[in-house]
Amino acid sequence: MSATIFFQQLSNGISLGSLYALVAIGYTMVYGILRLINFAHGDLLMVASYTAIYAVTMFSLPWYLSFPLAIALTGCIGILMDKVAYKPLRDAPRISLLISAIGASFLLENLALVIIGGIPKGFPRPEIFAKVIEILGVRVQVLTIYIPIMTLVFLMALLYIVYRTKVGKAMRAASKDIETTRLMGINVDRIIALTFLMGSSLAAAGGIMWALKYPQVNPFMGVIPGLKAFIAAVLGGIGDIIGAVVGGFVLGLGEILLVAFFPELAQYRDAFAFVLLILVLLFRPTGIMGEPITDKT
């Protein structure tokens, strides 16, 4: 493999990794507070992409308005999802919560199927994202550069909120011990809603960038990226925001480089993430940098 192709693949891996990272953050934040794998989280990618498409095509909004709008709307749908599917089950057994999450995921997918139909829609890619530039003799899409940069911006904003603001402090407290946090007089329901808002918005941003990169939008587009992002969150140690980002990059780079070096394994690409997950659970159940996930006595 030539150096050029290698660098191309590397930049691809980094941008795919950033997308996984963005989505993984939402998983990790919700898991941190509710100890729930929000199965429907991946479907928010799809929701955001469709919203963006309609904002652009039906309301003819420019992309710099429609994308933030789609992100905000998806964030609200995240809150709604919590209110409808998870809030009534706060005191229920974990298995019920998880089943409700699976139900929510199928509901979103099939609602989209019913309302929009199963035929993939093309994503309107603004001109400025479609350009191809040359860096050090390597031709790359500008998008592959923008995606990691945007991810970094979002991540910084998130870290600022979580570690530098009062709300962030409450969020961290709630993820340590939700009951005690409640007793301290903090409105935990508001904190949970905020967590869903932030996690969902990040997923939406991830979804829009995903659609820019792979401009085919269909009702089930969020399933596989969602699962992989969850795996990324586990790899990094669930509950840990930085861990989720690291996990996302490991997974994204791993996938792309695996296919680059062993093209004959391309058809096994979707299994790679799960095999990695199983290996991590077997040999390092704490994730790359997180707390133990096996149940303590």
């Binding site: 898991y31 100890r35 729930l36 794998i37 409808v84 599917a85 009534p88 089950l89 229920a92 974990r94 298995i95 019920s96 998880l98 089943i99 409700s100 699976i102 139900g103 929510a104 199928f106 509901l107 997918e109 099939n110 609602l111 199927l113 019913v114 139909g117 199963g118 009702p219 699962l227 969850f230 795996i231 586990v234 058809q267 096994y268 979707d270 299994a271 993430a273 799960f274 095999v275 997950l277 199983i278 659970l281 077997l282 159940p285 996930i293 096996t294 149940d295 006595t297």
Partner: protein, 353 residues
Amino acid sequence: MTWKGKDMDTSKRNLYCNLAALCLLAVVLYLFDQYGTEYQIRILNNMAVFITLAVSYNLVNGMCGLLHLGPNAFITIGAYTSALLTMSPMEKQMSFIIEPLIWPFSVLQAPFFVSLIAGGVMATIFAFIISFPVFRVRGDYLAIVTLGFGEVIRVLCNALQGVTNGPLGLKGLQPYTNLWWSWGIAVFTIIVITKLVNSSYGRAMKAIREDEIAAKAMGVDPFRHLMLAFLVSAFFCGVAGGLMAHLITTISPTLFTFFLTFNLLIIIVVGGLGSTTGAVIGAALFAWGGEALRVVESPMNFGAFTIPGIPGMRMVLFSVILMVVIIFARRGIMGRNEFSWNWLFTKLGLNAK
């Protein structure tokens, strides 16, 4: 007072009642077999296959309290194994056009029954191998790992063309599955799993579900018992996969996605997690209701105007049903209760005091 006396009184009566119920079922099946329409027979066959699947799936999810999301992997393995064994070497040679089928499948052929058992055994072997990583974790992680194995199997099905014929799948299987096979196996599954659940082993499984720590302290080895449930469940899922293959007569990887698991999950949640009776009722409702609900996806005629069919509407309904049940009626139809003759006779006021 001792327990023995009470047991003895009713056990004979229950035996007769069970036999009578079986005879009744046989008569009903005979009548449908002779006079039923093709549509009715298909629904009945589906019902039996889903009963087998739901009852064995419920053994892990309901009795042991785990959220196992990979039964589609076992069903796939059972279906492919069984199908590859009943096809003749000639048929196989003709089907596998991209890559020839690997030995020994290329030459083996077995009767239907043997192929079903082989399907079950292969699924069990796979379950045994994956049980080591799976049972290192619990809760949400177990869910995602089992889901992962389901996905891995689906990917393998597409990729290993020398075994599965890839996305093309296997076509033209003999329609061996009839009412006698499907219901015979459903009844056998119900009996065996009920016996297991009501035995000391089943009690140990429920104890793990209720409180794993306490169960360990009482001398129960969680790994051994969870694995037992997992393997038994895998076996029957494999067998049911074989039945399914020879019912539909065409199998391909798209048939066995997470979707199938989702359907089974709805069945056991609606029926009542942890109730075999509930699983049976849920499966029956699903097989019948699922057909009935096809209406919502087909074009509708309202005299003057027509509404075109809406694909996906059924799944929307199913998802809503699942969420409504889990949020508002978590115990489903049966809760963790089981049907028993004692209960029926008491209801009818026939129980001798």
